[in-house]
Symmetry: C2
Amino acid sequence: MLGMMQEQQLLISSLLEHALRSHPQSEIVSRTCEGPIHRTTYGEMGRRAARVANALARLGVMHGERVATLAWNGYRHMELYFGVSGMGAVLHTINPRLFQEQIEYIVQHANDQYLFFDISFAPLVAQLAPKLPGVKAFIAMTGRAHMPDADIPRLLCYEELIAGEPESYAWPRLDENSAASLCYTSGTTGNPKGVLYSHRSSVLHSWSACTEDGLGLSSGDSALLVVPMFHVNAWGMPYAGAMSGAKLVLPGPALDGKSVYELMRDEQVTMALGVPTVWLMLFRHVESASLDPRAQLCLRRVVIGGSAAPASMIETFQQQFGATVLHAWGMTEMSPLGTICRLLPKHAALAPAERLKIMTKQGRAVFGVAMKITDDEGKELPRDGKAFGHLLVRGPWIAAGYFKGEGGDILDQDGWFDTGDVATIDEDGYMHITDRAKDVIKSGGEWISSIDLENAAVGHPSVAEAAVIGVAHPKWQERPLLIVVRKADQELERGAMLAYLEQKVAKWWLPDDVVFVDELPHTATGKLQKMKLREQFRNYSFPV
Amino acid sequence: MLGMMQEQQLLISSLLEHALRSHPQSEIVSRTCEGPIHRTTYGEMGRRAARVANALARLGVMHGERVATLAWNGYRHMELYFGVSGMGAVLHTINPRLFQEQIEYIVQHANDQYLFFDISFAPLVAQLAPKLPGVKAFIAMTGRAHMPDADIPRLLCYEELIAGEPESYAWPRLDENSAASLCYTSGTTGNPKGVLYSHRSSVLHSWSACTEDGLGLSSGDSALLVVPMFHVNAWGMPYAGAMSGAKLVLPGPALDGKSVYELMRDEQVTMALGVPTVWLMLFRHVESASLDPRAQLCLRRVVIGGSAAPASMIETFQQQFGATVLHAWGMTEMSPLGTICRLLPKHAALAPAERLKIMTKQGRAVFGVAMKITDDEGKELPRDGKAFGHLLVRGPWIAAGYFKGEGGDILDQDGWFDTGDVATIDEDGYMHITDRAKDVIKSGGEWISSIDLENAAVGHPSVAEAAVIGVAHPKWQERPLLIVVRKADQELERGAMLAYLEQKVAKWWLPDDVVFVDELPHTATGKLQKMKLREQFRNYSFPV
């Protein structure tokens, strides 16, 4: 027997309609590529999103067709978020930091019909365009006065494109499971794979972001999105903003410490979201300019994701900014919200160092995300904060597969998605990532975390950087090999290194050997390339 | 083209599973009918809910069949919330304050298979049982030691029923649109009508309750549900509790000021929800016992709904308790959450009296509830805070019809449900109810609010109570008639009354006549019966 509730589909356009009815006057403030700060409202954004939809309909864009953006965080990008998805097309946000060949690949793989770009990407688009004959037009997101003079074929001007269009659009009543947006993961191997979000997943994810135990975004916030709109929909914040009516502050291309600080100060930012790197730049600016964030800002919460937030960063935000860090974890395949780390009432009695230890964990799953850890045979492991295993997730905003079936089946028979991470989960549901599954060292049926060993090794005053990889071992299957870069002019030998580690880790975790090198291989974005290291040490064997 | 997200159904059992994984140790504290305070956790509640489901399955309860409760707020009622709906049956919560004939009617209308009851309702059940041959068993929600000795046929003991059952249950993967619970409205005319909530509507509603702009329920809260679980699922809080992990405090049958205050104090209650009546009892207790709530309690928010929160109540909570009132509005047909009144950042600069004026409004629609006001022809009226018209709502947790089709089609062709209220909506989306549609006076095409006139009239020091009804008028269609009960030993005549009103309302709103009576007709719950008044004054005609 079915309930007798209204059949209302959860759509991106329903978020926009809510914003227009409930908080048309809430602000959206952008730093533009053209230079000045631009101020608008959800009301005006909604009317211009309708113009975008009318223009795309005039150009012949059909339901389900992809429309790409290559753009920073700004009001025109917001208009595309709602105009493109609202009219039934699919917004494909492209990460401009990908290699040019990868961008070519994904635009072709996605069959993008149109490509909207910020003028700072004009040189890139000029290079890409000749390789992209399928794109019907390249639309510069600016007015006539700032049109780029780069050599771009089929070039259109955004403001001219939408100028004559009506300010309303009869948003179609789509099936909520229709595709709404597309984002490619920049995997370390193979071609990028597309994650295809639905209207339903985007709306449910927004609700989660607005819950107090999620990110708590509300009409009382002024939220600075340092996290880019070209990456997992800026963690869903443009949608959650429309849901809540929070003031949104969009920093455009200027992510340096000074620009970010000034926006925080001038726009009374209460909440900011970004990856650790940008906060390090912010800290450096605060230090070099001798600023007093506690006195000048009204920052209350900082959401840190993308990679693990170091304890010192959590402390700096607490002490210098008076802001609470919400450590968050997720993936492109998870829309991305998976866990948030915030303390429970019972933690109030703990010593600060104990509380900090909890806050460096990835946190507890928001409702909508189920998590479990398993061993290699798929058997669920206990939630005791000690056992660590493969981290599996399930939920309505988690991918069931990649666009066009790339990568094949990605769910197990019970519908769980393997994150590729290795983690512990404790009795209160706090999850802590201990390693990537491919990096964990399997020694005699037990697992050793390469990350934990690396963290222990870099604690030595003479160590600049360290990596641990598993190397084949006749008896134990694998044993850890520690690879160390010494600090300049520092002496450090194998024996001293192992003696130091002996005080830090269990005896059976001790690396079987230590190798000293001049440098370690990194990706363009600074991540350690363990695959290259494993390649490099393929023929290595432990001393007998 | 569909998105490629996982097909996860939103189910009551998914709320329970989340609670078991993420916050099994969060508390549920109940004042019991048997006397003592009972403490349990979501973990234990979930295991006992599984026992309930196993017991019902053993009794032969099928998907979609109704299982009734006649119970206060308590842990066993929570177990039934999750056990009954989780296993695919429909939880029918019965309001014990209905007339006995109405209860008989709805149990029969719902075809309830089993009826669970708190022992304080044993005398009522003894009277009901002979009239309810379709109910297969009456289950007293207690252990053997406290079984009632009332004459109840087919009587079972709750603890014995579930004692031997397993602590887990393979919760069925239902369609999320399946019926989950049933609640009858106690309309002023005709038989009660059933609102049939779905799993989907209950889960979406919970998300809304957990958003910061909703009720903001979170793992940091200790929430006292004075609002009864037999009425619109205690405003959805049992579900939202499982979603968030908030500690729940359930007051059982003891709703007097002293009992409520002691629970607030002893359980560190941060948030409390209830109707104005219970808060008046609380205030009286605080006053008579000379208590200092600000010092003794940690109450931060009070949600007031059911009827309008008077300004003085909002002020008392602010000043004496240091708590913010969230004025909420909804209906049984709306699950019930429709609007919440909280201030926006821009209101911080207002004078306290101006802020208070906003807080007495019903508030802004949560995402998921669309609202509009229309004239008699269905034309939408402006959102200017002045125009008032029929309040229509639409959304995924709003009824599409009543159980078994009673009352016929209740939505217009665009899917809007007419609330029967008359309201204004302002530019920021704040809705303010000015009258019931059937009570508003239609004078020459314009509307006059009977409630506004009544409120103005009772401002006169000699008036004990006042009612305004519309009476047929040859020229204006209807004109207001003011009916007044004087305070004891007070003199007040027509001329003085009208002269007083002249200073308070627009000239064309002035009643055409004033009639003095000894008393006004009321319902059992104290509401003015305007229908009876209209009956009484059917043959009245205005002085020429």
